[in-house]
């Protein structure tokens, strides 16, 4: 017997014994906890009410508004064409179909940014991308779009432009409602997406 075979056997055995001691990573498709905080601290997920209003007016097909408040609140009022996914149902199948679809930008909103932000964090943890949070939520929506304040004379030019936009947007969201009122709210149907890509295989 060649001596090297003993060495080979020993190396293989040591490698295998090592596997017993390395703890197994959990079989999840979640974002590692070490990366989550970094993503949370990035401000890029926040969009302003003006940006959202602009997108709605432009009828951006890639925009999907998601109302994270409970259904009872949603039934009273919500943004046009918004879909209700209460925050406690984001992990269910019905909630999952809206998130992470390529080509759609999901904007989450609630009463103010807090709840939507928390939902965003959970979605990020589930490794779902292309989600945004409307800063300030519906309260800010009312304050800025529905009841915009006239800027002071000393304010810079840009705030007057913004004000003009908001006035137009306001007409769209309140007055124009009569025009679009008889249009049926179409439910956006998404193809069900597999949660995590798993390699297909088999012989």
């Amino acid at each position: 017997m060649n001596r090297n075979y003993y060495i080979l056997t020993a190396i293989m055995l040591i490698l295998a014994i090592g596997t017993v001691f390395i703890h197994e990573r959990k079989y999840t498709s979640e974002l590692p906890a070490s990366e989550l905080l970094w993503d949370i601290l990035q401000p890029s997920r926040f969009v302003t009410t003006d940006q959202v209003a602009k997108r709605i007016i432009e009828k951006d097909p890639s925009l999907l508004l998601i109302d994270v408040r409970p259904a009872s609140e949603y039934n009273k009022f919500s943004l046009p064409n918004a879909v209700n996914v209460p925050f406690d149902s984001i992990e269910t199948a019905t909630g999952q179909q809206y998130f992470g679809n390529p080509g759609t930008k999901v904007v989450l909103f609630g009463d103010d940014g807090i709840l939507a932000n928390r939902v965003w964090i959970l979605l990020r943890r589930l490794d779902l991308k292309n989600n945004y949070v409307m800063r300030g939520g519906l309260n800010e929506w009312i304050e800025t779009i529905i009841q915009p304040k006239r800027p002071k004379q000393t304010d810079p030019e840009i705030s007057f432009e913004q004000y003009n936009f908001r006035r137009a947007a306001r007409l769209y969201f309140t007055g124009a409602k009569v025009v679009t009122g008889n249009m049926k709210k179409e439910k956006v149907v998404f193809k069900k997406r597999k949660r995590a890509a798993v390699a297909a295989g088999g012989c």
Partner: protein, 177 residues
């Protein structure tokens, strides 16, 4: 005598070297594509394809073909076909490198004729082909790749396959010994 054996033996690489390299190839395959090797799936694809060519209607109505006809649009379903193409090329390369390529010939044990060997090969092939579909893969797809990814079914197939071959080996010893 001793010399000739040695010369013959050197044509093949050390089996442990082959094994370690094969394991590494599987790891690379997992690292890149998330899956391991397989052969019989591509034979199945060929069967499905021919069925489609010969009688598209019958293929569409057959419950088995239907399962695989749908998938044909996705590139992943062709992965195996490309891999099997590679297996041919790799075998050829090795054959050239180690000078094993010969004119078409039939390898058979001393106690049987070439014709019988072919008949047995055909029967064996049919059985094996049938078995691969029930076992969801062949020795490479189910046993080798399945066991190395710790699949319960893969390990079971590995042991049952070798076990059953051992169990019946005695009855067919004339073919090989």
């Amino acid at each position: 005598m001793e010399n000739s054996i040695k010369k013959n033996n050197e044509k093949y690489i050390n089996p442990y070297l082959g094994g370690v390299l094969l394991g590494i190839v599987m790891l690379i395959s997992i690292f890149i594509s998330g899956r391991e090797l397989g052969i019989s799936g591509s034979v199945r694809n060929t069967v499905v394809e021919t069925a489609k060519v010969i009688s598209p209607k019958a293929a569409e109505n057959s419950t088995y073909y239907k399962k695989f006809l749908k998938k044909d649009t996705s590139p992943m379903s062709n992965w195996l076909d490309y891999e099997v193409l590679g297996v041919f090329l790799g075998g050829l390369l090795s054959g050239i490198l180690f000078k094993r390529i010969k004119k078409p010939f039939i390898e058979h044990g001393k106690s049987i004729t070439a014709k019988r060997r072919l008949i047995y090969a055909l029967i064996g092939g049919i059985l094996f082909g049938f078995g691969t579909r029930l076992g969801r893969g062949c020795t490479s797809g189910a046993a080798l790749s399945g066991a190395s990814t710790f699949s319960y079914g893969g390990v079971v197939v590995m042991f049952v396959l070798f076990g059953s071959a051992f169990a019946v080996a005695y009855f067919f010893r004339k073919l090989w010994v």
